[in-house]
Symmetry: D3
Subunit: 234 residues, 6 copies
Amino acid sequence: MLNVVVTDPPRADLAQVDRLAEYGVATVHEAIGRRGYLGPQLRPNQQGTRIAGPALTVVCWPGDNLMIHVAVEQAKPGDIIVITTTSPSTDGAFGELLATSLVARGVRGLVMGAGLRDTQELRDMGFPAWTAHVSAQGTVKETPGAVNVPVVLGGQVIRPGDAIVADDDGVCVVPRVEVGQAVAKSAARVAKEDATRQRLAAGELGLDIYGLRPKLAKVAFITADEYSRRAGEV
Amino acid sequence: MLNVVVTDPPRADLAQVDRLAEYGVATVHEAIGRRGYLGPQLRPNQQGTRIAGPALTVVCWPGDNLMIHVAVEQAKPGDIIVITTTSPSTDGAFGELLATSLVARGVRGLVMGAGLRDTQELRDMGFPAWTAHVSAQGTVKETPGAVNVPVVLGGQVIRPGDAIVADDDGVCVVPRVEVGQAVAKSAARVAKEDATRQRLAAGELGLDIYGLRPKLAKVAFITADEYSRRAGEV
Amino acid sequence: MLNVVVTDPPRADLAQVDRLAEYGVATVHEAIGRRGYLGPQLRPNQQGTRIAGPALTVVCWPGDNLMIHVAVEQAKPGDIIVITTTSPSTDGAFGELLATSLVARGVRGLVMGAGLRDTQELRDMGFPAWTAHVSAQGTVKETPGAVNVPVVLGGQVIRPGDAIVADDDGVCVVPRVEVGQAVAKSAARVAKEDATRQRLAAGELGLDIYGLRPKLAKVAFITADEYSRRAGEV
Amino acid sequence: MLNVVVTDPPRADLAQVDRLAEYGVATVHEAIGRRGYLGPQLRPNQQGTRIAGPALTVVCWPGDNLMIHVAVEQAKPGDIIVITTTSPSTDGAFGELLATSLVARGVRGLVMGAGLRDTQELRDMGFPAWTAHVSAQGTVKETPGAVNVPVVLGGQVIRPGDAIVADDDGVCVVPRVEVGQAVAKSAARVAKEDATRQRLAAGELGLDIYGLRPKLAKVAFITADEYSRRAGEV
Amino acid sequence: MLNVVVTDPPRADLAQVDRLAEYGVATVHEAIGRRGYLGPQLRPNQQGTRIAGPALTVVCWPGDNLMIHVAVEQAKPGDIIVITTTSPSTDGAFGELLATSLVARGVRGLVMGAGLRDTQELRDMGFPAWTAHVSAQGTVKETPGAVNVPVVLGGQVIRPGDAIVADDDGVCVVPRVEVGQAVAKSAARVAKEDATRQRLAAGELGLDIYGLRPKLAKVAFITADEYSRRAGEV
Amino acid sequence: MLNVVVTDPPRADLAQVDRLAEYGVATVHEAIGRRGYLGPQLRPNQQGTRIAGPALTVVCWPGDNLMIHVAVEQAKPGDIIVITTTSPSTDGAFGELLATSLVARGVRGLVMGAGLRDTQELRDMGFPAWTAHVSAQGTVKETPGAVNVPVVLGGQVIRPGDAIVADDDGVCVVPRVEVGQAVAKSAARVAKEDATRQRLAAGELGLDIYGLRPKLAKVAFITADEYSRRAGEV
């Protein structure tokens, strides 16, 4: 089913998704059990922006952005467009004109495995983007792909309507049906971290707070002199 | 002819080259037929700068910047120095002292496949640079190469005097004899894009503006329910 | 001796280390004989910061930050924590809570071969970091490693207490016993470069200042016409 | 559901899977619509071997092979073990002892995103393996993951029991419920290719056989002289 | 002039090209002045094969092999087909059917920046190939490019009809008009190396044969004891 | 002390080193505590060769093999030459003539971070090599480095005279003073593995032999039906 456009995928609830944006990528990723992070390759085109929204997924052929144009028509306010290619591509498949079109439909930002162009213009517009490459290399509009089918990006499965969270640490996906739980778990984690932060700032050690000392049973605490002696003798 | 310095290569007309800078890399690259882009590896050392100028080309041996010193003597006001190495090198072949020397000769900026150092100082000086690496690793000055011969960088041939355009999207080369045409084509493209931008901002779709719907003949537009049903049955 | 914590390694003298920070990475690296640079992979999380401090070294297993918690207890004011993994890892082993703990102990910054998270929060805190990756991917706390033993990062050996210098050009290590000499040599280099800079700014050529012309004995200076003629004939 | 072992996933029918092995990776990938290829990173440890089998999937933490031992107990004759890590890892998580254990259970081979060791011994044993790395670096056995849950490797989703096909071109996955169709489509493709091969060997052109000439409407067929003339004039 | 097919480019003389194959890549590359090597990314699909032939050049779009089919029609006996893409691509653009078609026209082998498939079949056929990737990922046949225009691959310019030499060390290009000289220089180099080899085998040192000792003026030859003493004192 | 040649470094005992070769890289690396492995980048130029010998270390500048010629004079029978560059380099710094010279001195093989050439000739000669790259690109002989000083390669410190072990899994270093212990520990490990192998071949599980089941306390063993149910409900 490569050449399919799904027109009405259920989307994560926007009110809940908005709450995920408050917590950010690292917190949400940890809160849902260290899952969903799309890896270090996806870097932000701007600094200091944190967004969340339901995924509008796109599958393009390498060097071809035909399906992004198809996806625009399927966009709903609040969406984050998530673009993959069927094989690795650095080409500049997305720029300022497509962003203009998406902004007109209320799309909040872009996550893409290929290349971004018009990077300064996008910053000027305030349209945030996370991509694996920056490239001005142009693409054709010839080969059909898919819109709103499950895609893989950064080793994660993203289904249309799943919640995307993105900030300076990268991008995280939360399955649509888990968003409510993710909000609750993130809130709990933040509360716990606030308490931990105060103790750490006051000089308490993570070794004690997290009870890590038993895991150091085989670790020898020795002086520099002792270390030199052993290294010499082997 | 590796050990050659060409002393008087014809250069692209500065007045025309200056006009290319107004359009930027993505526009010029598209306007001349999706050619000349030097790829995603060359990244700017600063944000928000757009320049153009004739190429002053240099071939260095890896880990050796002797020929950059030779190139300084050949520089003319308006030039952009374009430095390649005979094999891949990340070393910091260029820094603030060489920039000082080039600024004294009116050179506008740097494009280099190797490594840049003194990055903060170069930003403070306002000397823009696009390089494949940042590295403080020092180089020697031992092995001759060439100045103002054709070079290959980022998969593109750059001849001395060709026009270089560089901005946050990367670097593009325009053959010297095509610069006039490139200005005209870029102007036409910008005019056309301005019109398109207004239509897109007003909600019209690229699918319609570009006439893409016939290319979707084999694409099925289906509901999420229908998608689930087919995925289950295969 | 993998599972060892050395509790009292001698540290480079802080007063001298502070002077290294004035000179920066490129100068110090050149001054000590083009040694000690940790390569282009370690990139700063912030722009425009220059620090120096004695190395607090850590060896972690990939995907495991247990030993960073152990290292916090060994930290002394002025230290820069230097974290390696026993095999390549992009995981986000360090974030804002660990930084809070280190700040409480007077640690000046972080150098790490793995991934950084909470990047915006660290910039907000003013805690500088140089890492090979940015990643929100969480780590476990299971497998012991070592603290304050010699480590290898970016192809350089770093011993606990060695001086680390870091700025926008990357990271450099100076062996503890050489720090005094490195300060003196850096000062001399800066003085010499100041003089050279003035001459270059006035239009003198590096070719003449550095006496490079004899190295060009085999280089032919020819016209563009001559070049075309030879290229045609081979 | 990270810490889960599914004990009885339905597996693709072995008789059908065996037929896929006859066709090989390129043919099966094309036959099912250019899907399922795990990319160029997974390389064979041997030359000239072609296998197929149902996937026994494993999720490990980086630098940790605990779950491979868990997977051995779940193996069934004919299986191909497919091992992923929660973040990128080159470590040597699999070697000759684990292969011995799997052979005892009738497992046919290995596909893994991490590193392989005992490469010569595995060739001597005739146990085929496709991995992203070769590495002798040892792993720990500490952190639980999962067995027989859906995994992502090489940008493809692999569900337990899906059919894996592997040969010198790499690795392809066929969803379990599509295996029958894939066999039929592969057979049809091979028959068609046999006919095409004969025509091509006899000197007929793909341009004619595939009817490609209409796609060349805008392509100019010119002489070398004409090309030189146009290049000169631009 | 992207969409051009040049029908009659002059080709390097086959008799001379055949002599280049006797010398191999490393010798020819050195003989012509350390030029023309296409870099370490292009790896052979077989071991122990050494070929040479005039280049039949092709420019494809990424993920699209339309122009390879066009190139077949332009092939002449003895040619080596050299395929580039307008941006980086790992896709399997070439396999056994295209090889069958080229063999029917007397083409000697393949050099390609993209991916190869049917690797075992190509070895069985004896059709040699050097490519940057192995990949079974299929391509489309939609977007025109060019045949027999100058291309860039591995940082080298290759003009149609230039001589290609390829063996286990990789691929080298010799400009068409230099082939005669390259044969003569290669023969001279081999003769000289034969003499050197005998002296080296007899125990003479390269230091003496090449007269390198004067370049070691600043090198201190010291004992291990002396080294330890200096390292301690700094 | 960059420009130093140490003339008489103590070397690991050849008789003991020879015994390490029997055990191979994976076994020795594990036996000495999962240390010393030089990583997956160093690949063999041949298949099925296992050697060991004391390290003859060399530091070259990138693109320059002067110091390899210096090292030949320092070679002793049984040595393995270990070549590093001061910054990353793919150039073909080593080929058949240097191998001829080293064979004349009884050197057993090569380990190098740069590029190898004459790969087929080296296989024909039976001179084994492990390198990070294959490249025919030629080097100059201009800039001095060092011989028989400690070097870093693949993240490991190698001191002159340390034992190098290399086979199809890569390369491992054993500190000179630990070689005796490493032999004993390797022998013990092999004996233990032989016993384990028999039990695994007989169908016993690693889970039981290694006592891993307690580490699976949090792992749920569930049916596929149960998995589907939970995935649906979240």
